[in-house]
Each structure stands twice: as structure tokens, then as C-alpha cells.
């Protein structure tokens, strides 16, 4: 099976600091790949490179086997790589529907749309509502409710739904459960599994080992700016994973095969 998103020999230096050191990366179709690593291991540089937020000094990124060169997150998004940022990147005062379609609004057809540039609100609301319930996650009473009136888990849900609605190829989730309580995290993890069930592969960045081991199909362990190893969570324990990522234990030589 060909990886849907892969990277070879990525290098990124900030002055004397090497953030990425000949880093490789592979995401297989339909899987949840967790990326773990100690602080400063360079995992956020890796994710930023994949999502177009930074440009690497050298190395290649392939999407569906094609070399790609994202110059901005918008670029990556247009290619089908959606990122849910830790900050969620939503406008709190605007409605759920407005936020889901921010930057890719639908205009009405005909005179009102072409000349008057009028948005097709009914269509946007219908699609937003449908995308939310497609993921089996919500019975929205008021799709025009401002995002700031939602709880943390609900906001995360809307952000993931937005990514899933438009991310045709890959979704990157940056610490989706970091700010949530136990029960809200539970809902978001279920949501992540729902998205995978729709055959959209996910890159999950998380510090939360129980969450990682629960949902991930494979775990990419990042250390000192490169991929140390990829392990199958069924073969290793959480303390093994922590030992690999801190260097307390030698990494297994063989890279675990794709699920």
C-alpha cells in the first residue's frame, strides 16, 4: 500500500538549532497515526512542514505520490490537507455555519450571487447541519448560534467536523484533547474514530499517552528532529513508548508495518 502523505529527508534549521534532521514520515490510507515526542523533539516543526505553516530547508513531501510544495496553510488546505489547530482557529462571535464556511463561502447562483455577491445561507446552513450529523455527533438546534456559546468539547467537535467536511485527503489534529475534561475528551476521541470510519486518515499529535494508545493504529515516535521508530500500540506499552521518546530505552530496529 502506498502512503497517502509521506516525507523524505526533511531538514529545517533555526540558526544553530536543528529542528528537523533528515526526517522521514509516512501516513497510510485510512489510519490514525499518532505523533509523539518530547518537548523540543521537533514534532511541531514536522507538523507545520506537513500543513504548510513553515517551509523546510530541504527535503520532499509527497501527497498521493505527487511531490507537493505548500507555501501556506491555505495551499495545503486546497490540496486536501486540513489542520485543526490547538487554538481551533474559529471566530468566537460568529455562528457555527459562518465558521465552517469561513474562507470558502458558497454564493447564490444567478444575479444575486454573481452581481450582489449574496451568500447562499440556506445552503451553507443545510450543509453544516448535515456535516455535523453525518459524523453522528450532533443534533444541532441552532446552527446560527455563536461558537463562543459552545462548551470546549462542542467547539472541538465543530472544528473537527469542519476539517472532516472539507479535508478530502488528510486531517491533522494538534492536541485535540489538551484543553478538555475527561468526558469531553471521550466524545472527541469517539469523533476521531468516526472520522477514520469514513476513510479519512488522521495525524494525531498528542501528549496524552492513554488517548494515543486508545485510538492510534501506529505511533510515530519523534526524537532529536527525526523519526526514531514507528511502533504498533498493540506490541508495546505506554512506558515503552515514553522510554523510546526520552531515549531511556533503545528503539526497536524494525519499523512496524502499516496496519
Amino acid at each position: 500500500m502506498e502512503p497517502i502523505l509521506s516525507a523524505r529527508n526533511l531538514n529545517k534549521r533555526y540558526g544553530r538549532v536543528t529542528a528537523l534532521d533528515n526526517c522521514d514520515f509516512d501516513l497510510m490510507p485510512g489510519e490514525i497515526l499518532a505523533v509523539i515526542g518530547d518537548n523540543g523533539a521537533g514534532k511541531s516543526s514536522l507538523i507545520k512542514a506537513l500543513s504548510g505553516a513553515i517551509k523546510v530547508d530541504s527535503g520532499d513531501i509527497f501527497l498521493d505520490g505527487q511531490a507537493v510544495n505548500f507555501s501556506s496553510p491555505i495551499d495545503a488546505r486546497n490540496a486536501g490537507v486540513e489542520t485543526v489547530y490547538q487554538t481551533l482557529a474559529m471566530s468566537p462571535a460568529l455562528s457555527i455555519a459562518d465558521n465552517m464556511f469561513m474562507g470558502r463561502e458558497i454564493r447564490k447562483s444567478g444575479f444575486m450571487g454573481k452581481v450582489m455577491r449574496q451568500l447562499d445561507r440556506p445552503a451553507m446552513e443545510r450543509i453544516a447541519r448535515q456535516k455535523l450529523s453525518d459524523l453522528g455527533l450532533m443534533t444541532i438546534q441552532n446552527i446560527n448560534q455563536a461558537v463562543e456559546t459552545l462548551s470546549g468539547g462542542q467547539r472541538q467537535g465543530v472544528a473537527v467536523a469542519r476539517a472532516a467536511a472539507f479535508g478530502s485527503k488528510v486531517i491533522i489534529l494538534d492536541e485535540p484533547t489538551a484543553a478538555l475534561g475527561v468526558k469531553e475528551s471521550r466524545r472527541v476521541l469517539d469523533l476521531i474514530l468516526d472520522v477514520r470510519a469514513r476513510d479519512i486518515p488522521i495525524i494525531l499529535i498528542s501528549h496524552n499517552m492513554p488517548h494515543v494508545f486508545e485510538v492510534a493504529d501506529r505511533i510515530h515516535v519523534h526524537r532529536l528532529g527525526r523519526r526514531l521508530c514507528v511502533i504498533d500500540p498493540k506490541d508495546y506499552t505506554m512506558s515503552d513508548a515514553v522510554a523510546f521518546m526520552t531515549g531511556a530505552k533503545a528503539a526497536p530496529g524494525a519499523v512496524a508495518s502499516a496496519a
Binding site: 496553510p73 491555505i74 488546505r77 489542520t83 489547530y85 487554538t87 481551533l88 482557529a89 474559529m90 471566530s91 468566537p92 462571535a93 460568529l94 459562518d98 465558521n99 469561513m102 474562507g103 470558502r104 463561502e105 454564493r107 450582489m116 455577491r117 449574496q118 451568500l119 445561507r121 455535523l132 453522528g136 455527533l137 450532533m138 443534533t139 444541532i140 438546534q141 441552532n142 446560527n144 448560534q145 455563536a146 463562543e148 456559546t149 459552545l150 462548551s151 468539547g153 462542542q154 467537535g157 465543530v158 475534561g181 468526558k183 469531553e184 466524545r187 469523533l191
Partner: protein
């Protein structure tokens, strides 16, 4: 986050409804939610209440179509400038140069006609173009060079005002001359009436402008992006909004609207005077704030500003008709400003 635990219990109870919304059914929170989704409601209530109070005190002297439309005429210029100010404040900026752009544009329209001998239509077009250009420079400095809007427009205020005095030589073009040679400059001063109501073209322009901007802000992608940029610029950028283009277009449009206000100003006072309209800055900000538009950006509606401007007009005319000292107007407006900002802060807490 005070109701976090409540939200969590809810989530357990309704496993399938993660984003159904818990409602607290107290009257106060309902009011808060209503105001949250309709920010123009507060100024509308204040406007209706003040009209009723002054109407009760003054009777038909105030409650006549003549007095009502007189208020519109008196607030038209502040309202037009306030519309420009609203756009800028929605992006969490501020435009201190609105008054200066207005006066400079009116002086250019006048002087280009009388000193350079250009046809009035061309002179008006030049005035509008220069207003837009100044706004564009503001926007460019703010969006590209990342200078704070307060500083940029404070500087531009001085620059535009000084250019206005330098270029005009502090000279007023008299109303009779304009009337005889270039009536187009006074276009917005013309009026028609039915019943006792008198509408100047300036008033009509003001109302149409507010309606047009209300439509654009609510029903176009550009309008939604203006709100998103004011709400959280980083989030807007990551969601795919071209924040720099939005900011530059907002300031340029603000400049254009202020130039139109300059044209309306000629119609209102008849002459072209480089010393007119000095209070437009502060009055436009007052209308915006009383209108419930948040100075922190992203919240409020242009209709609120419309009501805010009318509130100021109702207070000034009502108190004048009552024979009160004009200072009472300022005192009450001052109280309204503080009250409006307090309400804004309260509405923001709706999410908590």
C-alpha cells in the same frame, strides 16, 4: 467556565447530543442571549424610549414629521462618517482621520472647481479618489507595515488636516459662488418634502448607505470576513481569510465614505470651509459606541450605529426644544457612552 460541570453532566445524560445546547432559563440570561444575537437591540430600545420621553414632554413640537426629519438632517453627516468608522471598528481598529479626510475631500472638490477650473463632476471624482487614496494608505500602513491603527490614523489626521489648510490657504468658498457656478457640489443639500417631512438628498444617501452596508456585512463573504478579522485575526488567517486584503479594503472604503461625507457637508453648510467638521471624529466614535459596536472588534451592527447617531440627534434636539443648557446633552451622551460599553462587556460574558 462556571457551568463546566453542568455541561459535562448534560453530556453524559445525552450521549448522542454532544452539541445540543444547554439553556439556562433565567430571564436575565435570555435577555443576554437575545442581545448577543441582536446587538442593535439596545440602541433601538434607547432610541424609542428617548423619542417617547421627549414626545411626552414636548408634545407635537417634537412629535412632528418636521422635527423627526430635522433630526435626520442634523445627524446625516455624523452618521455617514459613523458608517465609515463602524467598518473600521468592526475590524478592531479605529480611524481618527475620518473628519480630516472629509474636510480635505470637500476642499478638493471646491478648489479643483474654482481654482483649477475643472468641471464640478471631475472635481467631485477627484475628491472621492483622494479620500479613497488616503484611506488606502492608512490600510496599507496598518496591514502591511503592521503599525497600530491608532497611531497611523492619528498621524494621518494631522497630515490631512494640515494639507487641507495649506492647500486651501484657509480660504472659504462662498455659498453664492457655488450655487451660481457649480450647483453639483451642493447636490446633497437639495431636498424634497411631503407632509411636513423634509428629506435632503444627504439624508437619503445616509439611509441608503446604511442599508447597503448592512446588506454587505451580513450577506457577503467580504462582510463576514470583516467580522472574522475583528474577532480574531489569527483564526481568520488560518481559516483562509486574506486578512491584509480585508483590512486595506476596509480603510480604503472608509476613506471613500468620508469623501462622500465631505460632499454631503458642502450641501449641508452651502459653502466649502476648511474649518468645518472638526468634531466629526469624536462624534462618529460616539455614534458607533452608543450603537453597541464593540471597540474590541467583531461585534455589533451598522444598524446599531444608525440608531446611535439618531439617539444623539434626539437628545440634542429634544433638550434644545426644552430650553435646557446644551451641556446637558453632552452630559447625557457621556453617560450613554459609558452605559453602552458596560452593556457590551456584559453581553460578551454570554459564553461564560
Amino acid at each position: 467556565m462556571s457551568n463546566q460541570t453542568e455541561a459535562e453532566t448534560d453530556l453524559v445524560a445525552r450521549a448522542e447530543t454532544i452539541a445540543s445546547f444547554e439553556h439556562q432559563h433565567t430571564l436575565l440570561s435570555r435577555i443576554q442571549h437575545a442581545l448577543h444575537s441582536n446587538p442593535a437591540l439596545v440602541p433601538l430600545i434607547v432610541l424609542v424610549a428617548s423619542v417617547l420621553v421627549f414626545g411626552a414632554l414636548l408634545g407635537t413640537k417634537f412629535f412632528s414629521s418636521f422635527a423627526m426629519t430635522l433630526i435626520l438632517q442634523q445627524v446625516a453627516i455624523v452618521g455617514i462618517v459613523g458608517a465609515a468608522q463602524s467598518l473600521v471598528i468592526l475590524t478592531a481598529g479605529i480611524d481618527l482621520s475620518v473628519g480630516a479626510i472629509m474636510v480635505l475631500s470637500s476642499v478638493i472638490m471646491g478648489q479643483f472647481t474654482f481654482r483649477l477650473g475643472l468641471p464640478p463632476a471631475v472635481a467631485v471624482a477627484c475628491g472621492l479618489a483622494i479620500g479613497t487614496l488616503i484611506g488606502f494608505i492608512n490600510g496599507w500602513l496598518i496591514a502591511r507595515i503592521k503599525l497600530p491603527p491608532f497611531i497611523v490614523t492619528l498621524g494621518m489626521w494631522q497630515i490631512a488636516l494640515a494639507s487641507n489648510f495649506l492647500y486651501s490657504g484657509n480660504e472659504t468658498i462662498r455659498a453664492q459662488d457655488i450655487e451660481a457656478n457649480a450647483p453639483l457640489l451642493q447636490f446633497f443639500g437639495q431636498s424634497f418634502s411631503f407632509g411636513g417631512a423634509v428629506f435632503t438628498y444627504g439624508v437619503i444617501f445616509f439611509i441608503l448607505l446604511v442599508l447597503a452596508l448592512a446588506y454587505v456585512l451580513r450577506h457577503t463573504a467580504w462582510g463576514r470576513h470583516v467580522y472574522a478579522v475583528g474577532d480574531d485575526p489569527e483564526a481568520a488567517e488560518l481559516s483562509g481569510v486574506n486578512t491584509r486584503r480585508i483590512l486595506i479594503s476596509v480603510y480604503a472604503l472608509s476613506g471613500l465614505i468620508c469623501a462622500f461625507a465631505g460632499w454631503v457637508l458642502i450641501g449641508r453648510i452651502g459653502s466649502v470651509s476648511p474649518t468645518s467638521g472638526q468634531s466629526a471624529n469624536i462624534e462618529s466614535i460616539t455614534a458607533v459606541v452608543i450603537g453597541g459596536i464593540s471597540l474590541f472588534g467583531g461585534r455589533g451592527s451598522i444598524l446599531g450605529m444608525f440608531f446611535g447617531a439618531l439617539i444623539v440627534g434626539v437628545f440634542s434636539l429634544g433638550l434644545r426644544l426644552l430650553g435646557a443648557d446644551a451641556q446637558w446633552t453632552y452630559l447625557l451622551i457621556g453617560a450613554l457612552i459609558i452605559g453602552a460599553v458596560a452593556v457590551d462587556q456584559w453581553i460578551r460574558k454570554v459564553s461564560a
